[in-house]
């Protein structure tokens, strides 16, 4: 036991140091967003509630990636919350399916003003490849007012950040 411990201590960490993978474009977009939130949106904290209205989960992967150690969107003052009542921004992904139409409307209704709705992904913007399907109501804009649309199938995290920036600027303008 002692020999094992001493070996662990003596050996130390032998993995290679992590390479710096700062995504310069992403950080640039994030800093812009942070500055804009501070300038335009009174508080410097933006709380996001994400709603999957019927997407293929591609957008959700990218949204989840926003919170990981690489993108770390929290450093720009954004955070994800559990209830639409706590949120400033609703991000909606996927074409709105008939099953989720009610849920989306209710979530929009109970988000307190001022609220911003951002459609994330091609499905949410236009209906994407599901457009016109019998199971789909249409794009998000067909159900609730949308402030900004972020195209892409799915959009990259940097695109999402830039889109959020535009959404805020547009909503405040």
């Amino acid at each position: 036991m002692l020999s094992l411990l001493s070996k662990i201590i003596k050996t130390g960490r032998i993995t290679e140091p992590a390479p710096s993978l700062e995504d310069a474009a992403f950080v640039e977009a994030g800093r812009n967003l942070k500055a804009t939130i501070g300038r335009l949106y009174g508080g410097r904290s933006l709380r996001i509630r994400h709603i999957d209205a019927g997407s293929n989960n591609g957008e959700e992967y990218e949204m989840t990636a926003l919170g990981n150690a690489y993108y770390d969107v929290e450093r720009f003052g954004l955070s994800f919350v559990a209830s639409p009542r706590h949120a400033d921004i609703l991000t909606v992904s996927g074409p709105v399916t008939r099953n989720m139409e009610h849920a989306l409307k209710v979530a929009y209704e109970m988000t307190p003003e001022p609220r911003i709705v951002v459609a994330v992904g091609d499905g949410a913007c236009t209906g994407g490849i599901w457009k016109g399907s019998y199971a789909v109501v249409g794009s998000v804009a067909d159900v609730i007012p949308v402030d900004w649309q972020i195209p892409g199938d799915p959009p990259a995290p940097a695109d999402i950040i830039r889109g959020l920036l535009k959404a805020i600027e547009q909503a405040r303008a």
Partner: protein, 315 residues
């Protein structure tokens, strides 16, 4: 002089409470290799929530609207009555240990009522769990407080912290070590932290505290979040003041030392935040239906701590 200190202590805790939450979050982000949000973010969150619209469910009653006031009021009372930067300033009758325990319980009760008044299953689930935890944590809580009182020979928190501050560190803290561990277990349970609750969860099924406030929005939400921050700050600082009873003010010291005491206070907050973040980053959350084990361990720990202190007391 005394009133200056009482006021200063109160204002400091109220002003720095959101900072504690920010510090804990920052430390946790650090453990996850992230930069994390600014430690000032909770302030911005509360301020922006204060200016937002409120949406309230049509199935709630007047109780729902009263809850944020009572919960915040109990937290503000705790901030006033628990010694954080000074001792020897509060009358014993005000800072009585059981009174403070009861005020904390009153806050929990109203939070639970708020969760029950939403008619949402999530709120009800959170309420049921929170109430169970609050009920089962009482034995350890009261026994820990009485044990500290026994050690200090005084039944007010102000006096207990004063005793710790005036005695040599090696004479009191080691004797009270088990009791202080039990106190830490109680604090984690009371403030809905790991391993009892996950404050960062977005999954309703694993929520306790967060599930109760899902239906609150705008200023009411800000009040509840602020109250939670105050409670965490007060209890963490109390714990730190007992473990490291240094740098505390006393009316006899004069006003010149106030800046030093403030710096020590912030340092203690940072250490406390680091402690909570370390706990949350190194252990897993317990399954809710194993909570009776956690609570039993806390109560047994409190009993063992009591017996240790009693032996020390009689020797």
């Amino acid at each position: 002089m005394m009133y200056v200190l009482i006021f200063l202590q109160w204002i400091c805790v109220l002003a720095l409470a959101p900072l504690t939450v920010g510090i804990v979050r920052k430390m946790k982000a650090h453990y996850q290799n992230r930069e994390g949000a600014s430690i000032l973010l909770p302030y911005w969150t509360i301020l922006s929530l204060m200016r937002k619209e409120m949406t309230i469910t049509r199935h709630s009653s007047w109780v729902f609207r009263v809850v944020p006031f009572v919960v915040l009021a109990t937290a503000v009372c705790l901030a006033l009555l628990v010694p954080s930067i000074a001792y020897g300033i509060l009358p014993h009758a005000a800072s009585n240990i059981f009174l403070i325990g009861a005020i904390a319980a009153l806050g929990s009760v109203f939070l639970v009522l708020g969760g029950m008044d939403t008619s949402s299953t999530f709120g009800h689930m959170g309420s049921s769990r929170e109430m169970t935890l609050a009920a089962l944590v009482e034995p350890a809580f009261y026994l820990v407080l009485s044990t500290l009182g026994l050690l200090a020979g005084v039944w007010s928190l102000d006096g207990i912290v004063g005793y710790f501050a005036m005695s040599p560190w090696s004479a009191v803290v080691p004797v009270a070590s088990i009791t202080l561990l039990a106190l830490l277990a109680v604090i984690l349970a009371e403030n809905a932290r790991y391993p009892v609750d996950n404050p960062a969860t977005h999954l309703e099924l694993t929520m306790v505290h967060e599930a109760m406030i899902l239906e609150y929005s705008g200023p009411y939400l800000a009040m509840l979040e602020y109250a939670a921050a105050i409670k965490l700050t007060v209890m963490l600082v109390l714990f730190m003041n007992l473990v490291l009873p240094f740098g505390l003010l006393h009316p006899a010291f004069g006003l010149a030392l106030i800046p030093v005491a403030l710096m020590v206070f912030v340092a203690k907050l940072t250490l406390g935040g680091l402690l909570v973040a370390t706990i949350e980053s190194t252990i897993v959350k317990m399954r809710f239906y194993r909570m009776q084990e956690y609570m039993s361990v806390a109560a047994i720990g409190a009993l063992i701590g009591f017996i240790l202190v009693l032996i020390g007391h009689t020797l």
